[in-house]
């Protein structure tokens, strides 16, 4: 495995399976009454968050602490220093403090790549701009595997704002590596112009795709996209691309419903769908801690014996 986890595309099939299998082992730890392992004692993990994301930060924090690492939370938001200067200067500061791993969330695509030039520790991408969010894709794959078994040949549909979604980019890459067949569904305005070069299928017709899906992943749609003319109104978006009760009924019996959160209930997903037993949304959160433990463990602690 690479020293860093920056793009889901950097993971080979073996890497990805190793992370998922490691997470399975670590999940058993989470079921114990004492959840802590001594594996990363004395190692320092820095959570470097340039964007607010309480859920992702807490997830990484819990993962690192369960492995007994020292955790430093560095929230760089609101810093008066210009963004560029603060990234390099912050990197040098962390380097001086001896960070073994830096978990970075940043609003600019590629910021983790830049950070990796300036620190010696491992860089874990916790979401960069509209680029990638590889641990989200790993936890999604983990959640799917637990419900569906092997992902080989599984049909996964991802619906929503693909253009601006780091979750979608990482998922397409990882699911392709794991042998799944991915279909993206979105209004044409919310797909990159070059999406035909991605390793997946594309459709504008959600109703046509749903009956042939083993899992459907709904992406959050930000309301401000409406003002930029990506779609005419929330209602129209919801009618054409929302997963409501009627559409839910078109899914095969065993198919699952996913959402990376936070949800807009009533917009991209109806409340009763989000809360149905076939929804993995709450499991995804729990699995997030497990998969991040596996990632930190493998990057910092070496392969599992």
């Amino acid at each position: 495995m690479n020293r860093h986890l920056i793009s889901a595309g950097d993971l080979t099939r073996d890497d990805a399976l190793l992370i998922l299998d490691t997470a399975e082992e670590l999940a058993r730890v989470s079921e114990r009454s004492i959840k802590k392992l001594p594996t990363l004692r004395g190692r320092t993990v820095v959570n470097l968050f340039f964007e607010d994301s309480t859920r992702t930060r807490i997830s990484f924090e819990a993962a690192a602490k369960r492995l007994s690492a020292d955790v430093i939370n560095f929230s760089a938001k609101g810093s008066s220093v210009s963004k560029g200067e603060s990234l390099k200067d912050t990197a040098l500061t962390l380097e001086a403090m001896g960070a073994d791993a830096v978990v970075i969330r940043h609003g600019s695509s590629g910021a983790p790549h830049r950070l990796a030039n300036w620190v010696h520790g491992s860089v874990v991408n916790a979401g960069d701009g509209t680029h990638e969010h590889p641990t989200q894709a790993l936890l999604d794959a983990f959640s799917m595997r637990r419900r569906l078994g092997s992902l080989d040949g599984r049909r996964i549909t991802i619906v929503g704002d693909v253009l601006h979604s780091r979750v979608a980019r990482s998922n397409v890459l990882l699911l392709h590596t794991l042998g799944a067949e991915v279909t993206l569904v979105a209004p044409p305005t919310l797909l990159p112009v070059s999406v035909d070069t991605w390793p997946c299928a594309v459709s504008y017709d959600l109703d046509g795709v749903l009956p042939k899906s083993d899992a459907v992943m709904m992406l959050r749609v930000q309301k401000e996209r409406m003002n930029a003319a990506y779609f005419p109104s929330e209602r129209e978006y919801s009618r054409r691309y929302g997963l409501d009760r009627d559409r839910f009924a078109k899914l095969p019996e065993e198919a699952i419903v996913m959402h990376p959160g936070p949800m807009n209930r009533g917009m991209e997903i109806a409340a009763e769908v989000a809360d149905s037993p076939r929804s993995t949304i709450v499991e995804q959160v729990a699995n997030g801690v497990t998969i991040r433990m596996a990632v930190l463990y493998l990057l910092l602690g070496g392969e599992i014996a």
């Binding site: 590629g110 910021a111 790549h113 980019r169 990159p192 112009v193």
Partner: protein
């Protein structure tokens, strides 16, 4: 003074006698006075850049008129057009005269300020174009470069107004609404990298509109840094109508592609490749080379855009756009155009000296090396290949995309009206 053993436009070896800053005689076996050994170098008329950012006044940390003209001389240039996006903006006679006077004082390379089209480059009100034209700087090229004159009425008026003093509007073609937050060429790579795309149509739509406007009012139009295959097609069509339109391409758009943003020795997302207009695709590069070869694109212009280290050592979206180019231009053109057989040295002399001088209305520049011409001469050795070392640049800035690349050729000497500004590759 005699320059011994040079090959004018790559031809047979000759000697050049220079007297009083003028070419006095071209022949063989010339003797008498001071002799400089040309060692068989190619002699070109001194290069003329239509598009240079000297940064003074305002950003002297990036470049000054002194370091910028030193850089120009090292690159074989005897004249540069200094863009207007300084601070204060070159939108008054006072600012353009200041820049022009600094250039004269240093005497390394003629500095011809470009005047802003609109006050403060803000696209609302015409700057006092006539006052700049009538000033000591005799401004003939006007541009809001860095920003597009996107308002169609304002563009029309500017095109019309400068006719009174034989001026030209040099347009930075970038439709602003189509490029809000744009970071790189919109295509396969931007989609993968999650960087906001900069569509080719944003450039092409403005070029098409401006060609039609220029034709309608019978004015001269110059199009800055053409970067797409579609732009080339529009220009070819417009020129076929006989309209008075010229265009330039930068060296980097003749050589580099947007793949470098994803994969390069400098690492992914390295802002050294961030430039406006953005690097495009291989197909665009091929179209630009063909257009330069067939004359659809008239000029190579550097868009030399110096930035201090801290403005590039950032995450991609926070970084400044631009690359330095004066000291690598001729080598890149050799790599892209000469060594590929697309242009000969006469063609390079036209695209990098005669044509830009004509567009800028510079009487004393871009003239053939023959008796009576001002002795603006560049000696270039195309036979060597060297690794680009930015620490050796005369420019104050180091933001070159060619670091570590091996490029052909070396400027051996530059003469400005007979006075050597560069000898043996070093500032004289």
């Amino acid at each position: 003074m005699i320059i011994h053993n040079v090959r004018i436009l790559g031809g047979e070896p000759v000697d050049i006698r220079i007297a009083d800053g003028v070419v006095a005689e071209v022949g063989t076996g010339l003797t008498g006075g001071e002799v400089i050994d040309g060692q068989g170098a190619v002699a070109l008329p001194g290069l003329v850049d239509l598009h240079t950012h000297l940064r003074e006044p305002g950003r002297e940390d990036a470049e000054t008129v002194l370091t910028g003209t030193q850089s120009a001389a090292r690159g074989g240039y005897t004249a540069v057009h200094a863009m207007a996006n300084t601070s204060p903006v070159a939108d008054t006679a006072g600012v353009v005269e200041q820049v022009w006077r600094l250039g004269r004082e240093y005497g390394l390379c003629d500095v011809h300020p470009v005047g802003a089209v609109t006050v403060g480059l803000d696209g609302r009100q015409l700057a006092e174009l006539g006052a700049m034209a009538d000033s000591a700087a005799r401004v003939r090229v006007f541009s809001d470069d860095g920003k597009c004159v996107s308002d169609a009425v304002l563009m029309r008026r500017a095109l019309e107004y400068v006719k009174a003093f034989d001026g030209v509007v040099a347009q930075h073609a970038q439709e602003p609404r189509l490029t809000e937050g744009a970071q790189m060429n919109e295509g396969v790579v931007s989609g993968r990298l999650g960087l906001t795309g900069w569509p080719a149509v944003a450039e092409e739509a403005i070029i098409a509109r401006d060609c039609l406007l220029a034709a309608h009012v019978g004015s001269r139009l110059h199009v800055c840094h053409v970067s797409t295959a579609g732009s080339v097609e529009i220009l070819r069509w417009a020129k076929s109508k006989g309209w008075n339109i010229t265009a330039e391409v930068t060296p980097h758009h003749l050589l580099l592609t947007d793949d470098l943003v994803e994969e390069s020795p400098a690492g992914a997302y390295n802002p050294i490749y961030k430039v406006n207009p953005p690097l495009r695709t291989r197909a665009d590069v091929e179209a630009l080379r063909a257009a330069l070869a067939d004359g659809t694109i008239d000029v190579v212009a550097t868009d030399h855009a110096p930035h201090p280290v801290e403005d590039k050592e950032t995450e991609w979206s926070a970084a400044a756009m631009g690359m330095v180019g004066l000291e690598t231009a001729l080598s890149v053109v050799q790599e892209a155009m000469i060594d590929t057989g697309l242009l000969d040295w006469a063609g390079v002399a036209d695209r990098m000296s005669a044509a830009p001088a004509r567009i800028g209305r510079l009487a004393g520049q871009g003239r053939p090396i023959e008796p009576g011409s001002p002795a603006n001469i560049t000696l270039y050795d195309p036979s060597v290949r060297t690794e680009v070392d930015p620490s050796a640049f005369a420019s104050k800035s180091r933001n070159t995309p060619y670091t570590g690349m091996t490029l052909p050729g070396r400027v051996v000497a530059t003469f400005l009206r007979g006075k050597p500004t560069v000898l043996e590759g070093k500032l004289a």
